[in-house]
């Protein structure tokens, strides 16, 4: 019990004092997840909107696939990326395994389906409401696409934040392709997973506190964006 209390105290001290080890891990985590979510957004928004607006062969299969991929287990994504990047794999020559780049690739695969699937839903609903008006003004699906994304922006921001929440909290994929190498690929989740067993309870708890705070902040931001936007823009 005293161990536990001491660990908590030490954890808070680390967080409050911007402990360099802790700060480095948090920094890398944010860097990996933000970049991954940024890329996933750049891919997911247009893909989701296109699936919502255009009719093409295999569209239904793609919609089902996107929805199914939303729940992709991180370890499976990790495994696939590992196989692709390992020395014997097709992209082995790039030497990316156990680098932050590998972690970003894995998280992009994890988050893109989430953003694309949510975007498809948002844009499809908007198009039902807007179609006659937009066609009347002279905009078919292709020309209306950007206007629809813009009008769905507040819901889409929450979709992106959901993606960020998933990326920053997952441990399976980054563990497999990153390897939790100190000063290189160690991020919050992998550090927590491994430091506990090694006995560095204070660091693990400190990271846990940061992760929790981040998750709460992301959810609060998502809620606030929707609420205030709804009030101001209708």
């Amino acid at each position: 019990m005293t161990d536990f209390g001491a660990a908590f105290a030490a954890a808070f001290a680390m967080v409050a004092g911007f402990d360099p080890d802790l700060a480095e891990i948090v920094g890398l985590s944010l860097q990996v997840s933000l970049l991954a979510v940024g890329l996933a957004t750049v891919i997911g928004l247009p893909v989701g909107a296109a699936v919502a607006l255009f009719r093409f062969p295999g569209r239904t299969a793609l919609v089902v696939a996107l929805n199914a991929l939303m729940g992709l287990p991180p370890v499976v994504v990790g495994l696939i990326v590992y196989l692709l990047l390992s020395r014997a794999g097709p992209f082995g020559v790039l030497g990316l395994l156990f680098t932050p780049t590998a972690m970003i690739i894995a998280q992009v695969l994890l988050v893109t389906p989430i953003i694309a699937a949510l975007t498809r839903q948002v844009v499809e609903d908007l198009w039902v409401e807007y179609e006659d008006q937009m066609r009347s003004l002279g905009a078919g699906p292709a020309r209306a696409l950007t206007a629809l994304l813009w009008d769905g922006r507040f819901t889409l921001i929450t979709a992106v934040l959901a993606g960020f929440g998933r990326a920053s909290a997952e441990v399976g994929a980054v563990m497999i392709v990153g390897g939790n190498i100190d000063h290189v690929t160690r991020v919050m989740t992998t550090a927590i997973a491994l430091e506990v067993s090694k006995g560095d309870l204070a660091l693990a708890l400190g990271l846990g506190i940061v992760l929790m705070t981040l998750s709460l902040a992301v959810n609060a931001a998502a809620f606030l964006v929707k609420e205030t936007a709804q009030r101001h823009y209708g």
Binding site: G138, W150, D151, H232
Partner: protein, 269 residues
């Protein structure tokens, strides 16, 4: 002011039918709309008024028959010379001015020309002070005026309006009718639906009476409101309740027999 000549009119519907869900909802519709007038399409709910406008405007394709813009061709796209105001207009999630601007940008006008047109349209619709407000938080009446300002800026040759005042109070209705009159005065052909007889009397040059997907009568407003030739139309403008059951009621209306209608026919002004 007016759309550049030559005109896309006349608009002809030739034996137009529209089917959906195995039902024929618009039946063998033939008529021609030439320039100038204000045509009001009258009829009860479900008569097919909205479908007719959507067919004319090209939002839906006829299952049979043809919709022909006789003046189009030779590089003129009829879609770019017409506009429509819906019963419940859709406003984009941006400012009032930006909504008008977006419509103009879709017609390919460059930014430098758009600004003046946006200001002009908003001023005419009495919305200048709301230019910077988010469009979706306007009242229903203001949104309908904005929808009119948006199409006005496009200076269409033909404007379709589908029950534009159906969800408005009398004062907002008055404002909208004034704008419609002004758009017409500036040279736009008006084709509009309503189930409001008073509005039809105020705005119509001619009336088309629709019932169950058929055009039953077409007459000048004067002739129609004096005495329609079609007996369903007669019943409709007398405002008889349950007027469409007239045929059956007549059978029951023997002296002494209780009338199915209950109330005597009342008149709508």
């Amino acid at each position: 002011m007016m759309a550049p000549s030559p005109s896309i009119l006349p608009l002809e519907l030739r034996d137009v039918s529209f089917e959906a869900g195995g039902k024929r909802l618009v039946k063998d519709f033939s008529c021609t709309f030439a320039g100038g007038k204000r045509s009001i399409v009258l009829g009860p709910n479900g008569a097919g008024k909205s479908l007719l406008l959507r067919l004319c405007h090209g939002l839906i394709r006829p299952s049979a028959g043809e919709v022909i813009w006789h003046g189009a061709g030779g590089g003129i796209d009829p879609a770019s010379r017409q506009a429509m105001v819906f019963q419940r207009p859709v406003m984009l999630r941006r400012s009032v001015a930006a909504n008008v601007d977006y419509a103009l940008s879709l017609r390919g006008l460059d930014r430098s020309r758009r600004t003046a047109l946006v200001d002009e349209a908003l001023a005419r619709a009495g919305l200048s002070r709301l230019a910077a407000s988010p469009a979706r938080v306007l009242s229903v009446g203001e949104q309908q005026k904005l929808a009119l300002a948006r199409v006005w800026a496009l200076k269409p040759e033909v404007l379709f309006l589908d029950e534009p005042t159906a969800s408005l109070d009398p004062s907002a209705t008055h404002g909208v009718e004034e704008i419609i009159a002004a758009i017409h005065a500036a040279g736009t052909r008006i084709i509009m639906t309503t189930h409001d007889l008073g509005q039809a009397r105020r705005l119509a040059d001619e009336v088309l009476f629709l019932h169950r997907g058929r055009l039953l009568e077409r007459a000048t407003a004067e002739a129609f409101f004096a005495q329609p030739k079609n007996d369903l139309a007669q019943a409709f403008i007398r405002g008889e309740l349950l007027w469409w059951r007239r045929g059956r009621d007549n059978l029951a209306a023997r002296p002494g027999a209780p009338s199915e209608e209950g109330d005597p026919p009342c008149t709508v002004h």
